[in-house]
């Protein structure tokens, strides 16, 4: 059985979510190979070769893969990994964009966002915003799977000694082109990998008030998240959204400030180890999942928290 993991990277560094996908791949079988496709991305292949559990790294370095356009990448993956037993990738926006295209070209189903590997052909995945867990079995020749990164530990980034093999497969579709990218700049830890997350909701009232959360985040080394209400109201950019349709986080500590706790938000954070809710409405559903709840006006409690930490 050979298992391919599609590396996610920005042509310079491997994304941590790939390490979680490697862990899931190792749970499904041996001979885990990593495919690194990009442009000027040899450094990423070297990093992937050091990851524990990886037996081989394939490097497809070409301008055609510079921006990870799925139209080109899917064709590459089908040619390089199409006869593998499994193809895994992290369930990030990149993996979600790419993998169903790969699966359809191979005429197999894709299994999205798995949280557990029961065996080489049986996986567990959440449905209905995490309100049910489905165990699914695939009889397809190739199992195409995306992995929920927060459900698997990251494979050790050092300790492996895989060989890197350059492959010369160029697939260019010329039906789609990259125009531009606008990334949110932040000094803080990445939301999905942070140990502590503090999130604000509609109760924050405006974008300026998110500065209150920053003071707490600075003290705790936390990432800042948001509910859909806060994003839709324009308080913060959408890449900060935690929930069914945003990011899934599972930090050690999640502090929900001014968030009511709708089903769709809980879907993104209810696997956090410890949940704290600060809300002035004691009936808010968030208190039903919070380990520690403080019924208080956030505009008093949050500055006090920042000061006393």
């Amino acid at each position: 059985m050979s298992i391919f993991v599609i590396a996610e990277h920005d042509n310079a560094a491997l994304k941590p979510a790939t390490l979680s996908a490697v862990t899931a791949a190792v749970a499904a079988g041996d001979d885990v190979q990593v495919l690194v496709a990009g442009s000027g991305c040899a450094a990423v292949a070297d990093q992937a070769a050091k990851v524990a559990g990886v037996s081989k790294v394939l490097l497809a370095d070409n301008e055609a893969y510079a921006n990870q356009l799925p139209e080109n990448l899917a064709e590459l993956i089908v040619e390089v990994a199409g006869s593998a037993s499994h193809i895994f990738a992290a369930a990030t926006t990149t993996g979600k964009n790419l993998m169903p295209r790969v699966a359809a070209l191979l005429d197999v189903s894709q299994i999205s966002d798995i949280v557990d590997v029961k065996s080489a052909d049986t996986f567990v995945r959440p449905i209905y915003a995490g309100n049910a867990l489905a165990t699914v079995q695939s009889s397809d020749s190739v199992k195409v799977v995306t992995v929920r990164a927060t459900a698997f530990d990251e494979a050790a980034a050092e300790g492996g000694s895989a060989s890197v093999e350059a492959i010369d497969v160029v697939k260019t579709q010329d039906i789609a082109s990259f125009v531009s990218e606008e990334l949110t700049q932040s000094e803080r830890p990445e939301l999905t990998g942070a140990k502590v997350v503090i999130s604000g909701g509609r109760g924050m009232q405006n974008g300026e008030n998110f500065a209150l959360l920053e003071k707490v985040a600075d003290k705790l080394g936390a990432a800042i998240g948001a509910s859909r209400a806060a994003v839709d109201a324009g308080f913060v950019p959408n890449d900060m959204q935690v929930g069914q349709t945003g990011k899934i986080v599972a930090p050690e500590l999640y502090i929900a400030v001014g968030i009511s706790g709708a089903i769709q938000h809980l879907a993104g954070m209810k696997d956090s180890k410890v949940i704290v809710a600060i809300n002035k409405d004691e009936e808010a559903p968030i208190f039903q999942v919070a380990d520690y709840g403080l019924v208080a006006d956030l505009f008093e409690a949050v500055p006090e928290l920042a000061e006393k930490l």
Partner: protein
Amino acid sequence: MKILVAIKRVLDANVKVRVKADNSGVDLTNAKMAVNPFCEIAVEEAVRLKEKGQADEIVVVSIGEKSCQEQIRTCLALGADRGIHVETDTELQPLAVAKLLNKLVEKEEAGLVLLGKQSIDSDNNQAGQMLAALSGMPQGTFACKLEIADGKAKVTREIDGGEQTVELNLPAVVTTDLRLNEPRYASLPNIMKAKKKTIDTLTPDELGVDVSSGLKVLSVEPPPGRSAGIKVESVDELISKLKSEAKVI
């Protein structure tokens, strides 16, 4: 240009899900059903393109049991021109849905296909990408902005680190994110008018599509419960509990 919009009938987003006692699935008996929220956004976008004169006709497609026609009617009331219902009692996987849609795209010669980025029941986030693969079309997934000009679609996509813009040759597949637009409500006159619009019914057999799947659901279970914790009285007590009891700071 003709726009094909695929829509799905799902459990209403605000309904609390109950898993069946025999773990065979989710209990949908007498449950409130609705158009999947992302699909509503796709319909709205199609209607706006038509209002701007960039589309001539909007065809809305739904695949599933007979009751899907209610949701097709809803979309006709929102401004779609006609409906196609592919009737099947089998619960289909995204690959089968993509194959059926691919046949309809060919048949209708659609210039643009709009879908939601995911359905809120199965949470797969696959059908649009699969359709794009099968038809050889480019894909603009998780769209928060869509502009059509000169035979191309310029799509701004929500990605993990921010936003990305791509340009796609038409025909193309675009899947909608929440931020693309705010869907309108259907007015009573439009609901009345929608009753006169046509819905064609087809079957997977008539389209020549094998809808069998290599995927089998073995069981559906409720997730491990999370019990309510305690209420603290003050910020001091909160900090002390987090330090000494939970040991997370």
